[in-house]
Every structure is written in structure tokens, then in C-alpha cells.
């Protein structure tokens, strides 16, 4: 029943997309399409939430006579897909709500309106798919529709290149997934998930499948070093689509990984639990360091997505490590941490992108060097963005902290693992995670501080006005969810119970009966956290302090020019700039990791022209992996190019020799 309803939702989204294609010239088209998307995703959200809360009602595979005639297409909803459907439709509904206002600024609605619902439909279809063919078809549909959205503003500098790179990486990832499913299907060609589950592959094969799944899903999610397209493509799309791509589509990639590795692949081997967390830890640190060095607000957010994907993969990898050693309770903890972070990240990343979009639509700027002071002009956006920044920096009492805390708790269970490599590696990954969390704090101080605080750095920032009601509503709902998920995490953990149970065979103890809604992953004496009490205490002591101050202290306030150590300068150019903010951290980490190179060009003495500081950074994965690959491809293409200019006799020789070779192969084969 559930799957059927959700399929109707997908169909309705596709129909909305078609309507958008036909009607995009009408004045109300934008509002109509987004309102329809909002309604449909809200319906899908309700359905999947109900499915998640009562998983017993889920049964039955729906087969439709579509696609390849001898396969058909199969759809099914289980606890895992119900959870991811929930995440996606929360993000989708909020993006539609935001776009009700934001979409009006779109210059070329014809390039966005048809694809936005199609993109949502594609993501939903990936989660509903219950056979490899449908999965891959939906996956590719999702990739292509998002590619079309990335290319919406293709005339802007850099966007075409971003789209090209995205297309390339997406095809590469799909290829890897195709091979993975090919291996899973085995010689009998069982493409149905249920059939694949029946016959787990041999150890060597499953290792190859793991690597392929890491490449396929990782390239979509943005694991280092497959992340290169992400920070180019995500910001290039219109902002509500950026939010969907960063907040939601990466989660579909996580789903793909979980579905293949946890569900279809059979029991894991212990070294998987070393590889995946290690890649996750590296991804987290590299992602946040890249983010810190950006001055473009949307690109900063996109890089921070890379970081959060890293955190999620650390949790997933730990779950693999524990599961391989049959420590189900610990595996459940790590898996819960990962899934909770999936949910949390979709909330705050969408929120932050919406904030960036609001700034973009009212100032036309993404460059933090030209923003500043917007807290005065856009107070509501600033408030929502502040909550999002605190949440993503893993600060209590918001939700980001809860999932990172759970991940740390899972890491602290690692000494019980029997393998020495894991015993050492997992705490080292913990150190990477701690580093990433601290750097994320610095990163979002920068993002918030230079966009919203200080004095305006350009006229356009001085004149900005707050955004429309719809966008504000979208941001405030998400901000409220961030707080609620932070102070009442027990309910969310309990809701995840069936998913965890299905994937790891155990689940965390029920949290909702505990006193004061504390969360206790293992035992009270070991660790516990109570977001509600922490929040309550902070509010209480802040109001106590305020009360005491207002009773006994002077309430006088005088406004004056800034003190600035006695040398105030009215020019906003004297403020710290985003580049100078990250300079210390760049010096500490960047000189090795990014080969950062600073050059100061001083004018000759007596010359009044300004001195220039130039910083050059190099992207190591790009230099080491992609540039040689591109050169190799270019070299091969150059060589193959000669084939275009053969004589007829030459072509005939080629065809003839190919035929002979094939015949020889056939002869040897028999």
C-alpha cells in the first residue's frame, strides 16, 4: 500500500514536471509548480513517516510491466527506504516552500521548472526501487535531471565546465554501480534485490563490490578524492536546487552505499571497517579545510557537505567493523549515529543553503568579500542562518552535536575490537573527526561572521532587504527542527530503531522512557547526554544573569563610534576580510596539504600604489589523480585521432583484422 501511494507521488511529480515544461511561460507557472511539488512531497513525507513508525505494515513488492520486458520493474518500501524517503521529502518539501518565494527571481524558469519536480521524482524512485535495473535507471534519471538544473544558468562563468565535470563523474559513478550490480547478480543474472540477498557472493567478489560501491556511491556523495565535481556543481544550480543536491541527493548516495553494502552484500569482512572509516575521516578533514579557504558562500557550504559526508561514512564504517566482529550492539550504535547525521545534515545544510540563497537574491552576491552587516538588513535570515551554523558546527544544544556525540561514543567502543589495526585506526579516525569538528566551528564563524556581521563591504550589501515570507518560513521550520532534534534526540533515535534492527540485527535501547529524555546509548554509567536539560540550563542561567544584571546593574546604553583601540577608521575596508580570517589556519594546515604559497608584491619605495598579496593553493587530489588522467586521455585521444585519416584500404584492414581476431578468440574459447 505504502509503495503504491509513493509511486503515485512519483508519477504526480513527473506530471508536474511535464506541466512545468508546457506552462513555464505563464506568469503563475512558478508558483503553481512549486506549490504542487510542496503538496506532493508533503504527502510523500507523511506516508513515509507513517511507514517508518509502523514498519509492520510494509510488505509486498509491486511489479510494473515497464522497462526491460523480461525483468519488469519492482518497487518496495522497507524500513531503510522509508527513513531515506522521509529525509528526502523533508528536504524536498522545504525546498519547494523556499522556492515559492525564491523561484520568482528566476530569469529562465523554463530551464528550472520542468526539472525540479523531475529531480524530486528521480530521488524518490531510487529509494523505491527493488531491483538493480530500476535502481540504476532511477539513479541515472536523478543524475541527469540534476545535471540539467546545474546547467540552468549555463552562461555564467564556470557553470558549463562544472556541468561537464559533473556529467563525467556521474557517468563514472553509475558505471561503477553497474559493475557492482553485475557482480552481485552473478552468472544467473538475478537483478531482483530479493534474489541477490538470497545468494551472497564469495569473499573476493564482495571485496570488489565494496570498492565499486565506494566509488559509485562515493562519487555521488563526494568522498575525497572523488569530490572534485561537487563544490563546482552544487553552487552552480539555483539555490533551492543546491540545497537539494547538497542536503538530499548526497543522502541518496549514502542510501545506495548502505543498500548495497549492508543489505545486499552479506556479512562484512573486518578490513572493510578499516577502509571505510579511514576514507571518511580523511574526507571530513579535507572537506572542512577546503571549506575554510573559500570566500564564496555557496561553495563553502558545498565543501562543508563533503565534510559531513565524511562523518557519515565514519559512522557507517564503524558499523561495518563492529558487525564483522559480531558486536551487534556497537554496530547498532555506530549505524544510528550515521543515520542520525544523515537526517541532521539534510536539515541544517538545506537551511544554510536557503540562507545563502536569500542573501544571493537580495544582494546578488555570493562573495563574502563583498557582503557583511546583513544582520541589520536581513535580521530573520540572519537568525535562521545562525541556528544552522551552530547546528552544523556540532554545538549543543542543536542536533549536529547529538550525532557527532553518538559517533564519538561508537569510536570509544573500539578497544573491544579484536583486530589490532582497528584498535589503533579507530581512535586515530576519532582524532580526525575531532579536528574536523573544531575546524567546522571556525568555518562557520567565518561563514556567518563575514556574511552577516561587521560593516557592509559593498553598496549592494548596504541596501539589502530581507527576503520574502515563503523563504523565511522554509528557513524557520528547518531551524526549529534543528533545535527539536537537538533537545529531544531520544524520539528520533527510537524512530530509527526498525531501520537499525533491519540492517544490523540489533538496536539501541528504547530512549523515550528514560528520565528527562536523556539519551543513553549503552549504559548510564558509561555515557549519557540530555539535550533538553542542557538547553534548559543554558536558558535558565542566561535569564538568571540577565535578571541579575537588570536588577542591580546600570541599564544605561550609549551608542558611539567603535573604539578599535583608539584608531577607528570609518572605511569598511579596514575590517578583517574572509581571506585574512582563514590565514592562520591556512598557514598551519595549508602549507603541507595545499602547497599554499604566499607572495607579496610591494611597490617600489615612494610609489603610492597598493601592495598585493597573492596566495596560490594547489588541489592535491586534482594534481595527483585527475590532471594525469586527463593528460592520459588527451594523449590516447591524440593517438586514436590518427584513425580518422586512414585510406579506405586502411579501414578495410582494421575491420578485417578485428574480424580475424574475434574468430581466433572464438576458436580458443572453444
Amino acid at each position: 500500500m505504502t509503495a503504491e501511494l509513493l509511486l503515485w507521488c512519483v508519477a504526480a511529480l513527473l506530471a508536474t514536471g511535464a506541466a512545468g515544461l508546457l506552462l513555464h511561460r505563464r506568469p503563475m507557472a512558478s508558483a503553481a509548480v512549486y506549490a504542487a511539488s510542496l503538496a506532493i512531497t508533503a504527502a510523500a513525507l507523511t506516508i513515509s513517516a507513517r511507514a517508518l513508525l509502523s514498519p509492520a505494515s510494509l510488505n509486498g513488492v509491486i511489479s510494473l510491466p515497464l522497462g526491460l520486458p523480461w525483468l519488469g520493474t519492482h518497487f518496495k518500501v522497507d524500513a531503510l527506504s522509508a527513513f531515506f524517503l522521509l529525509v528526502i521529502n523533508v528536504g524536498g518539501a522545504m525546498a519547494s516552500l523556499f522556492a515559492l518565494g525564491y523561484g520568482r527571481h528566476e530569469e529562465t524558469p523554463g530551464r528550472v521548472l520542468p526539472f525540479f519536480p523531475a529531480f524530486l521524482a528521480g530521488m524518490n524512485a531510487v529509494l523505491l526501487a527493488a531491483d538493480a535495473f530500476t535502481f540504476l535507471f532511477a539513479w541515472e534519471f536523478m543524475s541527469l535531471s540534476s545535471w540539467a538544473l546545474v546547467m540552468a544558468h549555463h552562461r555564467r562563468a564556470g557553470n558549463a565546465a562544472a556541468g561537464y565535470l559533473y556529467l563525467l563523474m556521474a557517468s563514472f559513478g553509475t558505471l561503477a554501480l553497474l559493475l557492482a550490480f553485475g557482480l552481485l547478480a552473478g552468472p544467473s543474472g538475478a537483478y531482483d534485490f530479493a534474489a541477490i540477498r538470497q545468494m551472497p557472493p564469495a569473499a573476493a567478489v564482495s571485496a570488489v563490490v565494496l570498492v565499486l560501491a565506494l566509488i559509485g556511491a562515493g562519487s555521488k556523495a563526494g568522498l575525497v578524492p572523488l569530490h572534485v565535481w561537487l563544490p563546482l556543481a552544487h553552487p552552480a544550480a539555483p539555490t533551492h536546487v543546491s540545497a537539494l543536491m547538497s542536503g538530499v541527493m548526497t543522502k541518496v548516495a549514502v542510501y545506495g552505499f548502505v543498500r548495497i553494502v549492508f543489505d545486499l552484500l552479506g556479512p562484512p569482512t573486518w578490513w572493510w571497517g578499516a577502509v571505510v572509516p579511514f576514507i571518511g575521516g580523511i574526507t571530513a578533514v579535507m572537506g572542512v579545510l577546503y571549506a575554510l579557504l573559500q570566500n564564496d558562500l555557496k561553495r563553502l557550504l558545498a565543501y562543508s557537505t563533503v565534510e559531513n559526508i565524511g562523518i557519515i561514512f565514519v559512522g557507517l564504517g564503524l558499523a561495518l567493523a563492529f558487525e564483522a566482529n559480531e558486536m551487534q550492539a556497537a554496530a547498532a550504535l555506530a549505524f544510528t549515529a550515521a543515520l542520525l547525521h544523515v537526517f541532521n545534515h539534510s536539515l541544517f545544510k538545506s537551511l544554510l543553503f536557503f540562507g545563502a540563497g536569500a542573501v544571493l537574491s537580495s544582494t546578488g552576491e555570493r562573495d563574502m568579500d563583498r557582503l557583511g552587516g546583513l544582520i541589520h538588513r536581513m535580521p530573520r535570515t540572519a537568525f535562521a542562518f545562525l541556528i544552522g551554523s551552530a547546528a552544523i558546527s556540532a554545538l549543543p544544544p542543536f542536533n549536529g552535536f547529538v550525532s557527532e556525540w553518538l559517533t564519538f561514543q561508537a569510536i570509544l567502543l573500539s578497544p573491544t575490537l579484536p583486530q589490532w589495526l582497528l584498535k589503533f585506526l579507530v581512535p586515530a579516525v576519532g582524532a580526525l573527526l575531532a579536528l574536523a569538528a573544531a575546524l567546522a566551528g571556525a568555518c562557520f564563524v567565518k561563514a556567518f561572521g563575514f556574511t552577516f556581521l561587521g560593516r557592509p563591504r559593498s553598496d549592494i550589501a548596504r541596501e539589502a532587504a530581507d527576503t520574502d515570507r515563503w523563504s523565511i518560513a522554509g528557513m524557520f521550520i528547518l531551524a526549529a527542527l534543528c533545535l527539536v532534534a537537538g533537545i529531544l534526540p531520544g524520539y528520533f533515535i527510537d524512530a530509527l530503531g526498525p531501520v537499525i534492527e533491519a540492517m544490523t540485527g540489533a538496536s539501541l535501547p528504547r530512549q523515550e522512557q528514560l528520565d528527562w529524555l536523556t539519551i543513553v546509548p549503552i549504559a548510564q554509567s558509561r555515557s549519557s547526554y540530555n539535550g533538553l536539560l542542557v538547553f534548559f540550563f543554558i536558558v535558565l542561567s542566561a535569564s538568571l544573569a540577565a535578571e541579575a544584571i537588570h536588577r542591580w546593574a546600570s541599564a544605561a546604553v550609549r551608542r558611539s563610534a567603535p573604539w578599535d583601540c583608539g584608531f577607528p577608521d570609518s572605511s569598511p575596508a579596514t575590517q578583517y576580510s574572509p581571506g585574512s580570517f582563514s590565514q592562520p589556519i591556512r598557514r598551519v594546515f595549508g602549507s603541507v596539504l595545499f602547497r599554499a604559497h604566499e607572495e607579496v608584491q610591494m611597490p617600489p619605495p615612494g610609489d603610492a600604489s597598493p601592495a598585493r598579496l597573492q596566495v596560490r593553493l594547489r588541489d592535491l587530489p586534482w594534481d595527483v589523480i585527475y590532471a594525469p588522467m586527463a593528460r592520459a586521455v588527451a594523449y590516447c585521444a591524440e593517438r586514436v585521432n590518427a584513425l580518422q585519416f586512414l585510406t579506405i584500404r586502411g579501414y578495410l584492414t582494421l575491420v578485417f583484422s578485428a574480424l580475424v581476431v574475434l574468430l581466433m578468440v572464438l576458436a580458443i574459447w572453444q
Binding site: 570509544l412 546600570s554 578599535d564
Partner: protein, 316 residues
């Protein structure tokens, strides 16, 4: 239950009451060590009183965040301090936050303060925030590694359980613990803006960090921030005390006498720690800004090493 609640409130009040005294004590000691008379012991209280009686001078470009930040910073720091067992374990709200959460609460306070430093839009605020976040980006993971070491050893991230474990017979002398202690002290020095990372006594110097960040604050706002930084110093000393010198801490259910003894021992611990801090600060010179990363990087490495060597210690 009621007794626990009472102890919890006492704890919060003790922390708040003693923090300025500790700061004044360290200041006086440092002055004596370099041959000055120094301010009286109670000077910080007077400073705070003076500040809250004065009017607030707000910069024209300051926003609501600038005015709200001191309250949030103070509240987060105070809540974090209230969760550290000082003279007694068995605080009522102990389970609300473990050591990781305490570190994160302090991070929340720092996040707000760094934003406040950027709010007015001056170069000093920016320089302070930027450096503060650089220091935090290394000090926080180092602190987390110390937490890892302790909680892997004690099997818990709750401070009271760790303190109970450290009082027990299963501890012994461990090189991991020694490393964790050194790393924790280094983090404490950096986080509290003490020499050699920052100088709490200077103004108008390009090398300052904390003071640069709060340079636009005045009046009651400044008082709250100062008080929060006093509390933070006390908090770190309390953590070090309750983990590495857990003697004399009263356990829940013991009588009034045990609590009084605990309080007395706690005051003695603070006095000793303050003396050591003053000695250290007098003996050492401040570092250049770009040496911080070496200092804190080695704290982080020590933390990681402590965790690694734990596995050697554990086979006993």
C-alpha cells in the same frame, strides 16, 4: 534527590563565587613573584562591581548578537562548570552532559564570542576571532583526545565515573595518563589565554587574542565576559583536579562532614594549581603567534600518543 539538588546548587554557587578569587589570587602571586605588591586579592570582585555599574558604550555598527553574546557565553560556560565535580560527585544533573558535551559547551561559548568579535567590524575584533578559532581548531581535538584516553581507561565519558575510577585501585602509574595530563595542561593554558599562548594582562598589543576579540565590550557586558573567563579557568583546574588528583572529593550519600572536607580539599587544590600557574607564567616567555601551532600540535600529538600507548598499558 533533594540532597543531590542542593549539592548541585551549592556547586554552581561555589564555582561562581570562587572563580574571581582564583583569578585575583593568581594575579597577586604573579605580582609578588616579580617583586611588585600587586592588587589586593579581592580586586576582581571590585572590578566586576565597577563594570556592572558603568554604562555600556555600544558601537554604532553593533547588532543584537553583540548584546546577546555575553549572556550566552556566560551561561554556556557556567553550565559547563556546573557539570564538573569540584568538591563532590553525585551532582543531580551529572548525567545531562559528559566530558565530550562539556568540551562542546565551551565550544559553543567560544563560537558566540568569536562572532561577537566580528560583529562591530573592526580589525582588532577580526584578528582576535581569527586567532581564537585557529587555537581552538587544534586545542579542541587535543582535548577530545585527552577525553578519549581517560574514557577508554575508565570505560566511561562521565566525569564522575572517571573520577571514581581514578580514586580506585585499578589505575596505577601509566605513561598514557602522564601524557594526557601534560596535553590537558597545554590545552588549559591555550584555552584560558594564558602565557605562553596569550597574555591576559595586556591590551593594545598586536599579539593578543582573547582581549582583542572582546575589545569593543564595556560595562555589564564586559563584566559577564570577564566572569565567564574566570569561570573557565576554574573549570579547567577543576577538571584537572577531579581527574588527576581525585582525593577528597565527597561521594553522594556521605554526610555533611565529607562535603566540608571535600570543599576544603578543593580550595587547597585550587591554591596549589594557582601557585603552579603563576610560577609557570612568570618563568616563561610568550610565543610568537605562528609558534602556537607547534605548541598545540604537540598537545594534539601527545593526546594521540596517550591513546595509542593505552593499549600497551592495558595488557597488565
Amino acid at each position: 534527590m533533594m540532597a543531590d539538588l542542593f549539592v548541585q546548587f551549592c556547586e554552581m554557587l561555589v564555582v561562581l563565587g570562587l572563580a574571581p578569587l582564583l583569578a585575583g589570587y593568581v594575579r597577586t602571586l604573579k605580582a609578588r613573584l616579580v617583586g611588585r605588591r600587586g592588587p589586593p586579592l579581592l580586586q576582581p570582585y571590585r572590578d566586576l562591581l565597577r563594570l556592572i555599574r558603568k554604562e555600556v558604550v555600544l558601537a554604532d555598527s553593533a547588532s543584537w548578537l553583540f548584546r546577546a553574546a555575553p549572556y550566552i557565553v556566560f551561561a554556556a560556560t557556567w553550565v559547563a562548570a556546573a557539570l564538573v565535580p569540584t568538591f563532590a560527585t553525585g551532582l543531580l544533573f551529572n548525567y545531562a552532559a559528559d566530558m565530550i558535551a562539556i568540551v562542546a559547551l565551551l565550544a559553543s561559548a567560544r563560537f558566540m564570542l568569536a562572532l561577537a568579535g566580528l560583529d562591530v567590524g573592526t580589525s582588532f575584533g577580526g584578528i582576535g576571532s581569527s586567532r581564537e578559532m585557529m587555537i581552538a581548531s587544534l586545542a579542541e581535538p587535543a582535548m577530545v583526545m585527552v577525553v578519549f584516553t581517560l574514557s577508554l581507561l575508565a570505560g566511561s565519558t562521565q566525569l564522575s565515573s572517571i573520577a571514581a575510577f581514578m580514586q580506585g585501585p585499578g589505575v596505577g602509574l601509566r605513561v598514557s595518563l602522564a601524557m594526557a595530563l601534560v596535553a590537558l595542561i597545554m590545552v588549559a593554558i591555550a584555552e584560558n589565554a594564558r602565557i605562553p599562548v596569550d597574555n591576559p594582562a595586556t591590551h593594545l598589543e598586536l599579539t593578543m587574542v582573547h582581549e582583542a576579540m572582546i575589545i569593543e565590550y564595556s560595562g555589564r557586558h564586559l563584566a559577564l565576559i570577564e566572569l565567564a573567563s574566570f569561570v573557565k579557568l576554574l573549570l579547567y583546574i577543576s577538571i584537572i583536579g577531579c581527574v588527576f588528583a581525585p582525593w577528597g572529593i565527597a561521594v553522594a550519600g556521605q554526610g555533611l562532614e565529607a562535603y566540608l572536607v571535600g570543599l576544603a580539599v578543593y580550595v587547597v587544590k585550587l591554591a596549589v594549581a594557582g601557585l603552579l600557574l603563576a610560577l609557570f607564567e612568570t618563568a616563561i616567555a610568550k610565543m610568537r603567534v605562528f609558534r602556537y601551532s607547534d605548541f598545540l600540535g604537540s598537545a594534539l600529538m601527545l593526546g594521540v600518543l596517550a591513546t595509542l600507548l593505552l593499549f600497551v598499558s592495558r595488557i597488565a
